[in-house]
């Protein structure tokens, strides 16, 4: 496999990626973390168009692009653009294509928006999240972090906890894990458990998974506990949100029931589901996880943006 195999490729869903491709991306990320410069992509222009707020994803893509020598353009919220005047996504994509950008990184509130955008243009589209469906580059960061912490992904037991119904990071991570020999436990209240689409995909792939409502049932057997926020902005029914929030509180007291070597991950931002008393402990992997966002996105942009 070569970097050129990814030139011009859209990054829309983890379901499009094979294990071999993911491992290649991770190997490239490792090289960049070790000091290989990546790119150079001097003179290339990356459009960052974010219809939803973002700190980590937007900043990490912006930094990644600039470290590769690219210039960036676009908007970090729709209020700062013609979207506020009612411009369609279709017109926005065609406009940036017409301006000659070399890559479009986008986040949108509607599901499937990235796929639609990719259909409209020959310019590679990289999804930074669409609605509550997927966040493929976050899942790549997450898998890379697991591989880095354990030296492998196969053979691990992964617990994914929190908002599994509306959480796009949980979806993408589940799809990505299907490439590996893992056991997955989903931990969520019934109202927020995984959608049937995820269950169907994992079953088709022969990936073993179980579900529980109580993290205490499984914390003692997990290698990784992936914590997600119960997202108010994704849950249409305010009553459902109020019922769900505060159900989980991951703290040191709970984690002491875990096995040696347990790692806690979180895509961030966190609210109250992950206590700060975990931050300085040997369990905490989430800041390392966040930091991996830049080198991984540098690796992706290096490969996807045609030289």
């Amino acid at each position: 496999m070569k970097a050129e195999d990814f030139a011009g490729r859209d990054i829309i869903t983890m379901r499009d990626f094979s294990r071999e491709e993911l491992e290649f991306i991770f190997d490239s990320t490792k090289e960049i973390e070790s000091g290989r410069p990546g790119g150079p992509l001097d003179g290339k222009l990356v459009a960052l168009i974010f219809y939803e707020p973002s700190t980590r994803t937007y900043s990490s893509f912006e930094i990644a692009a600039e470290r590769l020598g690219c210039r960036t353009t676009g908007f970090s919220s729709p209020e700062k653009s013609s979207v506020a005047k009612g411009e369609t996504l279709h017109d926005t994509i065609r406009m940036y294509e017409g301006y000659g950008v070399d890559c479009i990184v986008m986040r949108h509130n509607l599901m499937g928006a990235a796929r639609f955008a990719a259909d409209l243009t020959k310019v590679p589209v990289v999804s930074g999240g669409d609605g509550s469906r997927e966040h493929p580059t976050q899942a790549m960061v997450d898998l890379y972090t697991i591989r880095k912490a354990f030296g492998k992904i196969d053979g691990l037991r992964i617990g994914i906890l929190g908002d599994l119904k509306y959480g796009r990071t949980a979806s993408s991570l589940s799809y990505g894990l299907s490439n590996y020999d893992v056991e997955i436990t989903f931990v969520a209240p019934e109202s927020l458990t995984t959608r049937k689409e995820i269950d169907h995909f994992l079953s088709e792939r022969g990936v073993g998974f179980t579900k529980t409502k109580d993290v205490r049932d499984v914390v003692g057997s997990l290698d990784v506990l992936y914590v997600t926020r119960i997202q108010k902005e994704r849950i249409p029914d305010p009553t459902e949100y109020e019922r769900a929030r505060g159900v989980y509180q991951i703290n040191l007291s709970l984690l002491k029931e875990g096995k040696k070597g347990l790692r806690v991950m979180h895509p961030l931002p966190r609210v109250d589901e992950l206590s700060s008393d975990v931050d300085e402990s040997e369990y905490a992997q989430y800041f390392v996880q966040a930091a991996a966002g830049v080198p991984l996105r540098m690796a992706l942009l290096s490969m996807v943006v045609a030289k």
Binding site: T13, R15, G86, T88, L89, H90, H108, N109, L110, M111, G112, A113, R115, F116, D119, D130, G131, S132, R133, K196, E197, H200
Partner: protein, 152 residues
């Protein structure tokens, strides 16, 4: 109803489901057309194969093959016969790999439901599971629920 010279007979519809077939095929639009079309609906009649069945006979109208394929996804027992100059030709439905435009995505927040964006829905057919999957948001839709989301 007189014997059909040219038309379509949809047979072996599950009993009391003919109204769904009429909705899926948008046959109510024929009322506003200038075509000299007759529609006869038999409901809950005896059937050797099904026990009871509905039948729809449409004189001077031919069901589109794509529509016939969608209908047979929803009602796998249904049989479609074309009548041409009094002769009966049985249609063998195909299960399409994709369905475009006819069915709305059940997920309201799917981009395909955004009013002003110029795109049609597209679904992949998962034949073994008897489900459709939205190309954009990956939502699954049972074949049996298609009538709730077909564009009329």
């Amino acid at each position: 109803m007189r014997k059909i010279e040219d038309g379509t007979v949809i047979d072996h519809i599950p009993a009391w489901k003919a109204d769904l077939v009429l909705r899926v095929l948008r046959l109510q639009r024929l009322a506003k057309s200038e075509l000299d079309v007759s529609v006869a609906v038999l409901q809950n009649v005896v059937s050797g194969r099904l026990g009871r069945k509905d039948v729809i006979k449409v004189d001077r109208w031919r069901i589109d093959e794509n529509e016939a394929d969608i209908l047979c996804l929803i009602f796998p027992t249904a049989t479609i016969n074309y009548i041409k100059r009094w002769k009966v030709f049985k249609y063998s439905p195909m299960v399409p790999d994709t369905i475009e435009g006819r069915i709305r995505c059940p997920e309201l927040l799917c981009i395909s439901n955004a009013e002003r964006e110029p795109l049609s829905t597209m679904f992949y057919t998962l034949k073994t599971e008897r489900m459709l999957q939205c190309r954009y948001c990956d939502t699954l839709l049972d074949f049996g629920k298609i009538p709730d989301f077909v564009r009329v």
